[in-house]
């Protein structure tokens, strides 16, 4: 009786003191194993009288259960401690800096980004994107666009020419994206709604002119498109592109060989500070040229100007990028200085959409 009680107290103490899993297991084997002390005591029950058994049975079973429980509890404690120790040993210095991810290092050039912005806006108005070659013929670049013989733009000081071929004709680098108007009208019948972004070339070099630059051209030809529609398209475009709720635009009569009537468009802005602000101020900034497609141009592609009509416009992509995003010098666009590109460039996943906003 006291023996059993003493034994229980002794064993539970031993279990609690077991320093690790192995010591605990040793106790279990020594007490509860086949040859263990408690097991031996339990085996003794068989030799007892029923009265003794009724007395000793529950006591010994109680002893066994108590020791078993103590071992289980101790095991959990030890496992927990072991895990804690392992985790402590696995500690790393998480403050170690990592290299920037490729997505955060990569950049999209502002010209590509602005072309995507333009595309998103005009897609919404039912336009599609057309393109054409940089190396053009005199016919597509000038004649078909109603440039008269002797027009100064046809001279060497304005236009880049390639070496003359064996037949004496010389190709040129297109001076505007307008040849694609002709190529498109030759290839498809109205109704036509296209926007034409692309590289263009002129003999020019200063802070706002580079020998290569980018233009975006638009063309609408159907049976009813008129200047009122053109004003709407251009006003909607400018508001959407510059992301301002309203914008004052001034359409001035002007002159281009391939449109009649022709206009230049200014945007009201504030240029007093270091950046241009639209929707305020009293200055006017020229932004694009436009007009009704000249009857001679329509005739040239086999369209009757009394039946078909339309409008076209063109503007500098680099220029509107500079106005929107504030780059001061056009030449830097083409210098590939990674500092400039990192600063003015866009992240790979900043895809301009109308549903997510053009810029973020």
């Amino acid at each position: 009786m006291t023996e059993a009680a003493n034994l229980e107290a002794e064993l539970i103490e031993a279990v609690r003191a077991a320093p690790d899993e192995a010591a605990l297991e040793a106790i279990r084997v020594a007490e509860l194993g086949k040859k263990g002390r408690i097991s031996e005591l339990l085996k003794g029950l068989g030799k007892m009288t029923p009265e003794e058994r009724r007395e000793e049975g529950p006591r010994l079973n109680g002893l066994r259960d108590a020791v078993q429980d103590a071992i289980l509890q101790r095991r959990e404690v030890l496992a927990e401690a072991a895990t804690t120790a392992r985790l402590a040993a696995e500690r790393l210095d998480v403050t170690l800096p990592l290299r920037a991810s490729p997505l955060s290092r990569g950049r999209i050039h502002p010209i590509s980004q602005v072309v995507d912005e333009i595309t998103a806006i005009f897609a919404d108005m039912g336009f599609r994107i057309a393109e054409g070659p940089d190396i053009e013929t005199d016919r597509y670049n000038f004649t078909a666009l109603n440039f008269p013989e002797g027009h100064p733009a046809r001279e060497m000081h304005d236009t880049f020419f390639l070496k003359a071929g064996a037949d004496g004709t010389r190709k040129l680098l297109r001076t505007h994206t307008s040849p694609v108007q002709i190529r498109t009208m030759e290839a498809m019948k109205p109704p036509i709604r296209i926007v034409i972004p692309g590289k263009t070339y002129r003999q020019d070099s200063d802070a706002t002119h580079t020998p290569m630059f980018h233009q975006v051209e638009g063309l609408v030809v159907d049976r009813s498109a008129n200047i009122a529609n053109m004003k709407w398209v251009l006003e909607e475009f400018c508001k959407a592109f510059f992301e301002v709720p309203s914008l004052n635009m001034r359409f001035r009569p002007s002159f281009f060989p391939f449109t009649e009537p022709s206009m230049e468009v200014d945007i009201q802005c504030d240029r007093s500070g270091s950046e241009v602000r639209f929707g305020q101020g009293t200055d006017w900034m020229e932004i694009l040229g436009c007009g009704m497609v000249h009857p001679n141009v329509l005739r040239g592609v086999g369209l009757d100007p009394d039946e078909y009509q339309g409008f076209a416009w063109g503007m500098g992509i680099d220029r509107i990028a500079m106005l929107k995003y504030g780059m001061p010098d056009l030449r830097a666009f083409f210098d590939a200085d990674v500092r400039w590109l990192e600063h003015y460039g866009f992240r790979p996943l900043d895809m301009p959409t109308l549903f997510g906003g053009l810029s973020t």
Partner: protein, 806 residues
């Protein structure tokens, strides 16, 4: 085109303010570029310093007393404190009184006390009045012929605002003040009052005859005025000419310049005494030169139209006169020329000679052919009025070309093209005010443009005339009709590919560059270009001469520029065109990129988690190229990769990615040292080009449904094999052979180890692959595995001669 407000008002009766006039000019298509309005200077007066003594309490200041005329301070001297070093007794300058706004300072003057001395005004510098940047001292007018108290602006001719318009090339009529006034009057801003030109008969024949031997000259009118007195032109004329930036010369010359701007009609005057014999209009002969009025001797290209006398060339037709027969103060007999030249020919001569003059500006746009003789009469009248003399009859040769044309204008045309509602009556009235002869016939009109409007050819031009006078701002924007449905895809496959390629490469940590399409000739030649047909005849500089055959030279050069700035670890890409020929289909789209130094995909430079800073190499470029191909939907798993690429790549560290035996989709690799040498580039470089147009476009399927997904219930099994092969054997051959050993069972074949060593034997290497087996219908047992292993080993042996390493 510049003119002054008072000049305009010689031709236009109007009460409109300067700002209204300026606004209207721009609104009708005569864009005002600049207005120089010195109205703010009205309160400043001419004043004489009477005394100047040192300021009692300041070393650099003086206390002046200034006489500013009888109207100021009751005629008594005014005390002014002044810091200008040139202030002294006797100086005549410009005084601002309290209340005057000083534009250059942005302040309004008040009575001030400077170091205890009161100052009742300010003697101004040119910068303070925004006349120039001069600020070393106050304005010193010297001894002038004007009393103190006179308005400085009036005296200096600054009171008349100068308007400069940016004239479009189609409007020769607006190269004269009279034409501009006509436009303004037609728009409703006043009444035109240009005085008519009265014909002058003259007495006796012009003693000099003219022969036209050149098609450049349509008509030539010449008159002699004898007995003139040539001296300075009157002050009003000199002021106007000065205001628009011309230097007055003498009355005879100034008259021609004045009429050039007043009527858009250039003229020329010869000193009759210096002309030998008669005049002939002809092409220049080889070797002829002329000392022109610009003081330079011009070599005349053969055939350039000139006016010559018996001795020499006296004038370049339509562009500039010669020094020899020019008029000066000694001229007593003058020959006045009014001629009509062929615009294109004048433009060509002017460009060839590089001479820009007010005459050329007008002749190349096309002067009014009907104003040839009136121009001569007007000049004669002014010569008679200003210089006296007796006119001869005019010698007139040649024909005025008949430019009369009729345009039929349906009145609905304005509405059709512009959306504007303008009544027929108003259209007729507007065109009439511009000088068009309009005959109404029911719903349309027959319109004859005036002789001064060579630009108006068709009804669209007439619509523009009506529109600009009514006002473009009257056109209310109208939405384009909606297409009535959700817009479908608007980009072509090529355009989609451009965008995907850009975003893919940027997503790999590369930075997009946009560079010029033309590169130096030696760069082009080193990268497969340099064809004559792709070389510019007139490059802007020698190193922008050839259309690029490849994006790589531009990219490497750009990376090298960054390296020179201290940014050597750069990864740049460009998606753009390269040029294989001058035909449209010779322009092909390429996605190219270069990585320099240590700018790999994971990042550049040293980092604690990487094994040092590894230089970029062929496999960086290969990964970039494959990433683009994969993003663009190329069948990457089936592509052939072959060792070697174009000659500008490292022969042993480059590759070509092909689809089938012929279609090259991409090249990648490190560069040949010779190519880098041409580019003047150094440092580890790896680059690639993906030829976007070469990627086949997948067939558009009728349905977007994807094939049914078959999932195997059996686990995949992995087996490793190591093959010993010749050093030169392509690893890809082993992979492809293993893949082909059992198409049903063999899935991915991954190379996980490559090594060579003496143990393998000379010229051998070991390539270890991990093969994934995908059982479709049962769990593989040992015999199945043995069977497929045997097939794999046999296939590899057959393809490469390789043996299983034991």
């Amino acid at each position: 085109m510049k003119f002054t407000l008072s000049w305009l008002k010689d031709h236009l009766e109007t009460d409109a303010s300067l700002s209204d006039i300026v606004e209207r000019l721009t609104a009708i298509g005569l864009e005002v570029e600049h207005v120089d309005d010195k109205a703010a200077l009205a309160p400043f007066r001419i004043a004489r310093v009477l005394t100047a003594e040192k300021h009692p309490d300041a070393d650099k200041l003086q206390k002046l007393t200034v006489d500013a005329g009888p109207e100021v301070n009751g005629g008594k001297p005014v005390q002014v404190v002044c810091g200008a070093p040139n202030a002294r007794a006797g100086l005549v300058g410009v005084l601002g009184l309290p209340g005057a706004y000083v534009p250059g300072l942005g302040t309004t003057l008040g009575v001030g006390k400077i170091r205890g001395v009161e100052s009742y005004g300010m003697m101004c510098s040119e910068r303070e009045l925004e006349l120039s940047e001069e600020h070393n001292g106050i304005i010193d007018l010297g001894e002038i012929n004007a009393p103190t108290g006179t308005s400085f602006a009036d005296w200096a001719g600054l009171a008349d605002p100068v308007i400069e318009i940016n004239l479009t090339p189609n409007r020769p009529d607006a190269t004269g003040v009279a034409g501009i006034a006509r436009d303004l009057a037609a728009s409703g801003l006043g009444t035109l009052k240009t005085p008519p030109v009265n014909a002058i008969e003259g007495e006796g024949d012009c003693p000099v005859t003219v022969a036209i031997e050149s098609t450049v000259c349509h008509r030539f009118a010449l008159r002699r005025v004898s007995g003139v007195t040539n001296g300075p032109s009157p002050e009003w004329m000199r002021r106007r000419l000065q205001a628009i930036g011309l230097r007055p010369i003498n009355a005879l010359v100034d008259i021609t310049n004045y009429i050039t701007f007043d009527r858009g009609r250039p003229l020329h005057v010869f000193d009759a005494a210096k002309v030998s014999g008669n005049l002939v209009v002809r092409g220049a002969k080889a070797g002829e030169t002329i000392l022109a009025l610009d003081g330079r001797t011009h070599a005349l290209p053969e055939g350039t139209c000139v006016i010559a006398d018996d001795a020499q060339v006296e004038s370049i037709a339509g562009i500039m006169g010669g020094e020899h027969s020019g008029c000066d103060e000694t001229t007593t007999d003058v020959l006045i020329e009014s001629a009509l030249w062929e615009p294109l020919a004048i433009a060509r001569s002017g460009r060839t000679l590089g001479i820009i003059t007010d005459a050329r500006y007008r002749f190349e746009r096309g002067v009014d052919p009907a104003f040839n003789e009136p121009g001569l009469d007007l000049a004669t009248r002014m010569v008679l009025d200003l210089c006296g003399g007796r006119p001869s009859r005019a010698t007139i040769v040649g024909e005025v070309p008949d430019t009369r044309r009729e345009i039929r204008l349906p009145f609905t045309e304005v509405k059709r093209l512009t959306g504007l509602d303008v009544s027929a009556d108003e259209q007729v009235a507007l065109l009439g005010r511009l000088g068009f002869a309009v005959t109404r016939e029911g719903d349309a009109a027959t319109v004859v443009p005036p002789t001064w409007r060579p630009d108006v050819e068709g009804k669209a031009d007439l619509v523009e005339e009506v529109m600009r006078l009514v006002g473009v701002d009257q056109i209310a924007p109208q939405p384009l009709p909606s297409t009535g449905s959700v817009n479908g895809r608007i980009l072509t496959t090529a355009q989609v590919r451009d965008r995907l390629a850009k975003r893919t490469l940027a997503g790999r940590g590369m930075v997009e560059s946009v560079s010029y399409s033309f590169i130096p000739e030696d760069h082009a030649k080193a990268f497969g270009g340099g064809a004559e047909a792709l070389r510019l005849e007139n490059p802007i500089s020698a190193d922008l001469s050839d259309m690029r055959p490849s994006l790589l030279p531009g990219l490497v050069a750009a990376a090298q520029r960054n390296a020179a700035r201290g940014y050597g670890d750069v990864a740049l890409f460009e998606v753009a065109a390269v040029y294989r020929s001058d035909e449209p289909d010779g322009q092909i789209r390429v996605a190219g990129g270069v990585r320099r130094a240590t700018a790999g995909h994971a990042g550049s430079g040293r980092s604690w988690d990487a094994k040092g800073a590894a230089p970029v190499g062929v496999f960086d470029a290969k990964a970039d190229a494959l990433a683009v191909l994969d993003a663009l939907g190329a069948p990457v798993a089936n592509l052939a990769v072959e060792a070697g690429a174009s000659p500008w790549y490292h022969p042993g560290r480059s590759g070509t990615i092909k689809l089938g035996p012929k279609t090259v989709l991409a090249e990648f690799g490190e560069f040949h040292p010779n190519a880098l040498k041409v580019l003047d580039a150094s440092g580890p470089y790896a680059g690639f080009e993906v030829f976007l147009d070469a990627i086949p476009e997948g067939k558009r399927k009728a349905t977007r449904t994807k094939p049914v997904l078959q999932l195997s219930p059996f686990q995949p099994v992995k087996r490793d094999f190591a093959f010993v092969v010749d050093e030169a054997t392509d690893a890809l051959k082993i992979v492809r052979a293993a893949e082909g050993a059992d198409r049903k069972l063999v899935g991915e074949v991954r190379v996980f180890d490559v090594f060579s060593g003496a143990a393998l034997g000379e010229g051998k290497k070991s390539v270890a692959v991990e093969v994934t087996l995908n059982p479709a219908d049962k769990t593989l047992v040992e015999s199945d595995l043995e069977a497929v292993s045997g097939k794999i080993v046999a296939a590899v042996a057959k393809a490469t001669g390789g043996t299983l390493r034991t």
